[in-house]
Amino acid sequence: MEDEKAVQFFEEVLNKTRQHRIRWEPTASDSEFVAPVGGQFTLTLRLSTGASWEGIVRPELVLKDSANREILSVNEKTGLVSPTDLDSVYELARRDALRVDEKVDEVLGQLSKL
């Protein structure tokens, strides 16, 4: 049951990130992005060596409550979601936070003038 909830939570974050409905922000760390949700929770996506069995750097999604308690964490170690989906949500959040698409459009506009 708890696993089902965690999977449901992850899939919802992935879907809403795909739809650009989550306000991902860059942080002082280049491998970490945060987003507040509903005035009560924060989502953090970060690359962590503790997020995989092999000790290699993998994405991890962390949910915190308003009291700053870490209440849920989804990573490769939990085995609940595929590493591909973890990579996808991290990359989508990174692109949103850094406004990659907007900047690429801008570059394309500039390139078209050349």
Binding site: R23, E25, P26, T27, A28, S29, D30, E32, V34, A35, P36, V37, G38, G39, Q40, F41, T42, T44, K64, S66, A67, N68
Partner: protein, 159 residues
């Protein structure tokens, strides 16, 4: 004299009672004034005041990072993280969802700032990392300024 007292003790007791009543009234007024002053002091620690103090600390972090005083910036970032938690807990009922989202995001931003400052001394950070840190501190400061403005505006509406 004894005869006078014997004849008028009732009237004299009334006068003494009146004096004591007046003194009690004076002292109760003073106590009431002191209580009002204490209450005003507590109320002055309002949401606006909390936001103002947060805004000042955020501004100090920007300054210390630009001066490469990582040790002091780290202290201030820790303080501001705690203040942000305090504001979220104390003023939860008064804050809009947008403000709460801003504060929650700022608390996470400050945690990331403290992690970066703890891991690497500021003067050894690479140019890109330093720029990203400075930008994040600026963003926290700008958001605190906006939240301070919103709190003052809300207080003005109540007057």
């Amino acid at each position: 004299m004894g005869d006078f007292l014997a004849r008028n003790w009732g009237s004299l007791a009334s006068v003494v009672g009146l004096i004591f009543s007046f003194l009690a009234y004076v002292f109760s007024r003073r106590a009431s004034k002191a209580a009002k002053e204490a209450r005003d002091l507590v109320l002055s620690q309002s949401l606006g005041e909390d936001m103002n103090q947060g805004n000042r600390t955020a501004s100090e972090i920007v300054t210390y990072v630009s001066m490469e005083r990582g040790d002091v910036a780290l202290l201030r970032a820790g303080e501001l993280q705690n203040r942000t938690s305090h504001i979220l807990a104390r003023w939860s009922a008064k804050l809009s969802e947008q403000s709460k989202n801003n504060l929650l995001a700022m608390r996470e931003q400050l945690r990331a700032i403290t992690e970066v400052l703890t891991k690497t001394p500021l003067n050894t950070l690479g140019a890109h990392d330093k720029a990203r840190l400075a930008q994040t501190c600026q963003r926290v400061n700008a958001t605190y300024s906006e939240e301070y403005g919103a709190a003052v505006r809300a207080a003005d509406r109540q007057v």
